[in-house]
Amino acid sequence: MIYSAYNYKIMFEKLMDSCLDPAVAGLFKSPVVLSSLLEPLPLGVVIVDPERRVLLMNQALEALTGFTRDEVRGVPCYAVLRGNVCMHQCPVLEAEAGGQPIRREGDLINRGREKIPVRLTSVPVRDPQGALVGHLETFEDIRLLQQLNEKFHQPFSFGQLIGRSLKMEELFRILPVVARTDSSVLITGETGTGKDMVAEALHQASGRAKEPFIKVNCGALPETLMESELFGHSKGAFTGAVGDKPGRIRLAHNGTLYLTEIGDLPLSLQVKLLTFLDDKIVYPLGSTRGFQAEVRVVTATHRHLERMVREGRFREDLLFRLNVVRLHLPPLRERSEDLPLLMDHFLGAFSLRFQKKVRDFSQEVRRILQTYPYPGNVRELRNIVEYAANICQEEVIKPEHLPIYIFENASLSERAVAQKEEAFLPPLGEVGSGTSGMNWPEIERRLIVEALVRSKGRKSRAAEILGWGRSTLWRKMKHYELNS
């Protein structure tokens, strides 16, 4: 647009006569310079004429756009501000048409070639007769706000894992990326930290989600059976091999093979697994015909594999092949900020499942649960909440609804944690090391026995300790065959 000197005079007369040093009159005792009002504002402010040409802008907007007021005076605001809304839904024009201030969020590109998110407000300015004399626009830099929002909305779950701690956030950021690759993954972490869940979630988020996910516990079977389980066998390979068996690796073809407790895999099988990882060919026991298996291998262990390598109990070359992507799941004590989230999550889940009206923890219970060391990690917390949700007949879980071992075996639990921190090995399974890994009936049975021991066999006292009626205790004792 090219403006003639005549047009300029008509349009600018009212506003630009003193625009280099405009004053506001009638508001205060004496006129004040407009810039003295606008300059201190942390908000970018620009005043434009009815043709949207810049008359005045404050220092904050100069800093935001990178242009000085002298450079852009008389230039249409859209050319200076370079906002996305300026080009598509000019708020100045909308405010003019509607007569109302318009507020929008968008972005602008400044002179430094940065795209900056802004919140802008456009207000039409009219003279006392109602004639439009210009517009006032404000620009708020909302980068910080958006960063906070992003932080707030950052993913805090992956599969069934939840958490808001820094360690978990970091993990949640990595997991989707790792899931999309075919690299071998080694998941480490103490028992109860969710290694199996991560493995399954990785599979579900990968391109192999529709293919099989085969889990093999390397510590669950004797060596000979494990070999057959993993690699399969052909008919007649050994006594009892009455038919061909495909093996878990072959079953996982095109999918994911999850080898848990990989640290417990016997050395002889480690060699065979290593050969498979190199060649990707499975040779069933007693067969010379191989099968090309296209599998992604995910492994997990709670053991310190590097230490096992040093001790000669784990092959170094196998570790190198498995340890392409290493994911370490932190123990619960290292992500204590996740405790409230996990507690509420489990309570909500169990209340729903058991159809209970339990909705919260008392402050005392929260304090107790936040200071407990959790040698069994998240699994143990879940068991505790499951127990409490079962026992509690009220809306709020109180200390008496918590498992007794929390109070009695605190020192043992701490000792177990210390052992694990030292050796990164699982607890030795001592009786007092908690109930992690136990299911609810086992816990309940154990609690009844404990209560009976504490009450020296007096059932009424035991029922009191458990918070049950005598008939409930009697019924449960009968159910668990504790009457004799």
Binding site: M1, N7, Y8, R111, R113
Partner: protein
């Protein structure tokens, strides 16, 4: 020997935003600055990536635009395309200056009235 100039256009002005441009003018100039060819290309939709692709396909040597993000500026520069950004005003006036052999980066081509002229 000729030089191809690509100007991002919005109405009759240089488009304030490279990434929101949906129309470009491509001008081929000879060494003397005479226009050998001029054509307007309307893009199916605004996209900085597609615009970069067009610039490279057209083998433009100079791009004149308004606001451009650093990553696209660097990319085009790396591809040996000269980018004159923060140019404001009617695109034909910017082209005139290019034809005259003058740099245009950061120039304002709007007629800003007598006050500016007086100054």
């Amino acid at each position: 020997m000729f030089k191809k100039v690509l100007i991002t256009v919005w109405n009759s002005d240089i488009s304030p935003r490279f990434d929101l441009t949906s129309e470009v003018v491509i001008v081929a100039l000879n060494d003397e600055g005479s226009v050998l060819q001029e054509r307007t290309v309307v893009l199916p939709h605004a996209s900085a990536e597609e615009l970069c692709h067009l610039i490279l396909t057209e083998e433009a040597g100079l791009v004149i635009c308004g606001g451009i993000e650093e990553e696209y500026h660097q990319y085009l520069t790396w591809k040996k395309v000269e980018v004159s950004d923060s140019v404001m005003g009617p695109w034909d006036r910017a082209l005139e200056q290019v034809r005259a052999g003058e740099p245009v980066a950061g120039s304002v081509f709007y007629d800003r009235g007598p006050r500016q002229a007086d100054a």
